[in-house]
């Protein structure tokens, strides 16, 4: 028996919206400690990892570990039937092949339940080693989304360079080029508006903007985003989900031609 009850149903909606552009089908792995999901996009360039800890749920019961394959677009569709304030409960039998979403309105005057068929999804679970990153940039998530969106109007890949001066996003395209530099800024009143750069070594990597833009669909989940980069690792874009966990996106960098030939 699996039963997850989440008071802020809107959160689940945001989580699904944050993933469904990148990944279509994925397994939700539920265990006593919580609910997690890991999936690569179809081109195996990006990976999304979601963690929702059990203590973040209003009620969390998971008798045995389960992996539930779902089409994220279908889930997102179902969740759109729930109000933002609705209480969402997920239920699944241990041996069933369906999952039930129950939406209760805050005043308890309306209850809807949707049953959805589960899918068998063969997923490749990747082991992601803990790593020390050469540069970690924490910045307002809105700002990051804005930068990605703006740059994507110019080019289709972005070079992100972290130096002690700040973090520079640059792109080049047919119509010209663009550079956006964000300096470290810790003096603002609100901590979520600060830009903090922790750098061991300068890093400069190239990424495909379209993936970054997919990542920024998670912007509603958190006021801040943490971008971690090392020259020999995929970048990590992490959005914290308050009191519950995180959604992390990993993106393989583009490799320079010369380097590749060498």
């Amino acid at each position: 028996m699996l039963e997850l009850r989440l008071l802020q149903g809107g959160l689940l909606k945001k989580v699904l919206e944050a993933m469904r552009e990148l990944v279509t089908d994925a397994n939700f792995d539920c265990s006593r400690s919580g609910c997690s999901l890991q999936a690569m996009d179809s081109s195996h360039v990006a990976l999304v990892a979601l963690l929702l800890r059990s203590d973040g749920f209003d009620h969390f019961r998971c008798d045995r570990n389960r992996s539930m394959g779902m089409n994220l677009n279908h889930v997102a569709k179902l969740l759109r039937c729930a109000g933002n304030d609705d209480i969402i409960t997920l239920k699944a039998d241990d041996d069933g092949d369906t999952v039930t979403f129950m939406f209760e309105s805050p005043k308890q005057d309306k209850i809807a339940d949707f049953e959805m068929k589960l899918m068998d999804i063969q997923s490749e679970h990747l082991g992601i080693p803990e790593a020390e990153y050469q540069a970690i940039v924490k910045m307002p998530s809105q700002e990051f989304a804005r930068i990605c969106r703006d740059l994507s109007t110019i080019g289709d890949s972005v070079v992100i360079s972290v130096t002690k001066e700040g973090v520079k996003f640059s792109t080049k395209g047919d119509i010209g080029s663009a550079n956006i530099v964000c300096r470290q800024n810790t003096t603002v009143d609100k901590p979520e508006e600060s830009t903090i750069i922790e750098m061991k070594d300068p890093v400069s990597l190239t990424f495909a903007l379209r993936y970054l833009i997919s990542f920024t669909k998670a912007t509603p989940l958190s006021n801040t985003v943490t971008v971690s980069m090392s020259s020999d690792l995929p970048m990590v874009v992490e959005y914290k989900i308050a009191d519950m966990g995180y959604i992390r996106y990993y993106l393989a960098p583009k490799i320079d031609e010369d380097e590749d030939q060498a």
Partner: protein, 524 residues
Amino acid sequence: MAADGALEIFPQVQALVLDKLQVVSYKWLSRNFSVSSNYAKRLIQEFAERHCSELEVIYTLSGWLKSEPQTYCVKLASTHKLEEAKQVFKDNCSVQVYSVQACVPNDLAVIWNAEFVQAEELFNQPLTEGNCLRDNRFCGVSNSFVKRIVDGKHVGAAAPWPMNGKGVAIESKGISTVKGQPVQHPQQGSGAKNGMQSSIAVSSDNIEKVALDAASKVTKPPLIKESVSGGNAGKNKGQNVKSSSGTASSLASLWGNASAKSKPVTPAAETAIDTSIAAATAEAQICAREALDAANSEDEDHHNNHKRERNGVSGRKRRVFLDFSDDDDEEENVTSLSSPDVFKGKHAAESLPKTESLLERSKLSTAEPKGDRLSDGLDGTEGKNSSLPSDADERSASITMGGISLKKKTKSYNQGDTDKNNKDVTTTSTSTSPKRRKVLKTRIDNRGREVTEVIWEGETADSNMSEKNISVNDAANRPPVANKAQAAGIAASTNPGKGGNKKPGKGGPKDAKQGNILSFFKRV
């Protein structure tokens, strides 16, 4: 794709061609085996390749002539005259297999006889019976503005172009587009503001006559109807089309309009169109039309992707123009939309005799080839343009490009298009001018990553062009810009590893290969 159906069809075609000595053209093939005209072309192409030693092939060449003023021409040529025929074309011309036969007949009429008989049979079927000519289901081009009614019932949700316009006109009533035709021709012909439209009108007039005769005057009433309604049609072309399109097509008409307007300012305009803009508009619109409808068509996603990717390159710039172009020009829009209908109709069913005579003449009147060419071009392009599912504006802009590029076979966009043609119809490899095809190659690179590259094979030497190509390549091969979720989704699903595709050796400094996440993390 051709493989499965081919297994069943090829033996039959072989028997017909080699034993019964019948001329098998792609049209005949399409109707007889109930496959789309594009597919039929592919089949016949493949068939011709397999059996090239034992049969004669007649090719359709279409492209711009070298002569001044520029004219678009469609020619039929037999195998050994192919190279020679190509010489009259400027740059690239598309080469497709028209028909296969045991030998080239002395009487050229034999080439189209089989399909004519077939068409006649179809037209002579009772009015209540739907068939592939009535609902135009196999045509590569369709028009959502046209509603087909057989015995009071609508035929075909997609409401395609009247490929067999005349057949429909004669036998089934109530097709408003067709009603409008007779009056439109003279108008356009006399107006002659652009070569293309006028030529269409001329050719269509001729063919219309042929068609009427040919169909053995099955019914009088429709003819009467034609002339009656023709009176209004001249004045109310706009309404005509509108009413026939019904509610569903209002968006479509906006798109058509938009593409017509925006074309002059789109990047495609770089192509320095020497032909009149009006002509370009008409073509662009046809393409747009066709592409819109192609959303319904079953053409492979593969094409869609390429198209979409190309859109990704510069769609943003174009969108601006589209926005303000929606309001005026109803009239122009309608005109250009309806004219393709007209020639389309004749062409498909009856233009054959004309085309053949071209063979003999080898000097081509502007009028006839245009009609032919357009439809051929559309047939060929259908695959690519079929990309337009839902996000209208950006797409329609690119369609415009498609339209223009069709005319100017030199541009890089266009090359994408022609390349696709080539894929289907590979005789092009023999074409005189530089031609390229887009090839998807997947390999494992020295780092163990799977790399899928889209490569243009057979580069042009032309320097400024190759530069152009680079940029198009880069952008096109890259995943479409991500704010189009749909685009991304489609592209991602059909182009795994596409992040890494780019043309080797042509990379600018900013170009890099997309790494793969699997090269960083191990599976557990």
